[in-house]
Symmetry: C2
Subunit: 354 residues, 2 copies
DNA sequence: TCGTTTTACTAAATCGTTTTACTAAGTAAA
DNA sequence: TTTACTTAGTAAAACGATTTAGTAAAACGA
């Protein structure tokens, strides 16, 4: 029931004149000391000795003047910032954004905020951003698909990172399951000659994803032809690298009936390349994506894909980090695994001709 | 030239033991007062009276112990946070993310960071988030496609907002040009019966975009049939609302040869709906999108669309806000306009049959 | 009635900077 | 020789909260 009022609500309380009121001023107004107010407003242990009547006076005055403790003063004293740093490669590819949604959903209920920094795969920023975030006194860092190039002096949770750095908790997909789900699906559709797009070297998922896929293929007795493997190149977050890789693949003139792409973005690029040479998807080639970003469901054809629970990975990362902050004792789990799901849509189908 | 070292660089400087050193400690170590160090390190006017030799001693010690001024102490004293708040509807639809990229590109060179808050079109969050950001002492707010439900006590720049609130600078697309570009393109392709998808009521662009499109159509002598107008509903950031709207449109059984969608996301949903009833795009229906998000170029068919320079809008918003902070005198421009571009791809074509 | 505990508070220190207002010595000008 | 300025700094206040260590009065217990 959105109200369309053009004039946003004006006066909530008595003030609205200057900026906000300080504890000292409020105390003066009440004829009490700042100490007493602090004790009451924060419900410190000593507050039990303050009579309810006085407490009420304080609460009412605080409400009336809309008193808010100064964030800097409080943080300086308490040495806490209630802020996390989040480092992502890039925001607009759909992947990090989904993770951030999950992060925010948890943080907002806990009174935390986060500062975002994109490293754009640049080595200098990979070193610079963590330093800046540290200077900003963030209490912990969430890295998304990002190599850790700094010595973690704070709790760090890495989403889809595989660097195995001491004290860094990794949240990763069960890549084994993912690979098996993908290969099994293609296998059951009758595909035996399968092409693969590997990720860019800089992506932390590249290595493990490829290794598990290779394993899964071997287990099914699928032979992997080296000529059917191509790799993404460049930092373009669009489907362009997938398109280019598929062009290269087609130029090799080797037969294949299915393509297992590194992710949905590259699958979309691949489909474009197939269409250009009049190969239909899925009639002539099946294409399997990875991630299940929003675009996957509404692409044409809709992508069959291995879904990563990105929102959950984000919220899990946030929860884990907050927990680390709450109890810095004991090393928490080094790795948390989340489960993928096969989402069958229209880009894969039974093999038609061999 | 990414180096693959698994061990992030360890000791930069002498310390690495405890946390960071304070100004007082550093001063004690040098046998000087904190005042002197502060003056020298910040190059305050008085620094001219300090001999170079002493300055060098101070700089060297600061470097050696990797001294960083405490952010809270400095902010408390200076009453500045070097932080902006950014309010967006949602991160993962590609639109806000592109704007944020632009924002970040500017802020990072100026030593600013930003806190993100998503309102998800919820009225409570539209009021709550600005309050929280204010408490966090942000120096200004950038709102993206977001109605202003708060009394702006700080500099505010609204990207794609049309609320015309006092002291809020709006960065908006030249909607007139955009509408003319779109209508002209369809007209020149021979389309006369054009269907339209309007935006959700909550989107700030909905009204103006529709009004300018109507005008542009009238100027071209194109009649708008009310039965060919549908509207997006619901807060789903995926193409689903566009799909649903188009289904509704098709159910009306009125003839049309082109569809002007509210944005790329809904255009993608529309194409899906067309395909389901075996209407080919662009052979049977032309579809025109809006925004030019990443997905547009690689959709199948690739979307013809009206490009909004989202990155530039973000960087312009950031620049404008920083400027407002630097010179709070004088009301700055109330509205800054950016120009759209027609990007012709494959989803539109000459009309084939009437 | 004296000592102890509880009640109802407050003064001052602290967090780590920056800034304002000094001091004390040396140099220059009149 | 006095005045004035420059040089080379420093002490203390301020930013706005929280916390530690009190105090003074009232109530309680023996």
């Amino acid at each position: 029931m959105p109200r369309k009022s053009k004039n946003p609500s004006t006066e909530k309380s008595e003030e609205a004149n200057g900026r906000s009121i300080s504890l000292k001023e409020l105390a003066a107004h009440l004829g009490l000391s700042p100490t007493s107010l602090s004790i009451v407003l924060n419900d410190a242990p000593t507050a039990s000795s303050i009579p309810q009547e006085t407490k009420d006076r304080i609460f009412q005055a605080a409400a009336k003047f809309n008193y808010r403790p100064n964030y800097f003063a409080r943080s300086l004293r308490a040495q806490r910032s209630f802020t996390l740093g989040v480092i992502v490669p890039e925001l607009s590819d759909g992947y990090s954004a989904m993770v951030l949604n999950g992060v925010e959903s948890v943080l907002s209920t806990e009174g935390f905020f986060y500062l975002t920094a994109s490293h754009l795969h640049r080595e200098d920023l990979l070193e610079h951003h963590p330093r800046m975030l540290l200077e900003r006194q963030v209490e912990g860092i969430i890295a998304v698909d990002t190599p850790i190039r700094f010595k973690p002096q704070l709790p760090v949770v890495n989403v889809s990172g595989h660097d195995e750095i001491e004290d860094v908790t990794n949240i990763i997909l069960n890549h084994n399951s993912a690979a098996k789900l993908g290969i099994a699906h293609l296998y059951e559709c009758g595909h035996r000659k399968i092409a693969f797009i590997k990720g860019q070297d800089f992506s932390s998922d590249t290595e493990i994803r490829w290794e598990t896929i290779r394993q899964a293929a071997i287990e099914r007795g699928i032979e992997i032809d080296n000529d059917l493997i191509v790799q993404l190149e460049g930092e373009n977050p669009s489907p362009e690298p997938g398109y280019a890789a598929t062009k290269k693949l087609l130029a090799r003139k080797k037969k294949f009936t299915a393509l297992f792409a590194f992710n949905d973005i590259s699958a979309i690029g691949a489909i474009r390349a197939f269409h250009e040479v009049n190969l239909r998807v899925p009639e002539d080639v099946s294409v399997l994506g990875f991630d299940d970003i929003y675009a996957a469901a509404f692409h044409n054809p809709a992508l069959t894909t291995i879904k990563q629970p990105l929102f959950e990975m984000g919220s899990l990362a946030a929860k884990t980090l907050l927990q680390k902050l709450a109890e810095p004792t004991g090393h928490s789990a080094e790795t948390l695994t989340v489960e993928p799901k096969l989402v069958v849509r229209q880009s894969t189908d039974k093999v038609r001709q061999e």
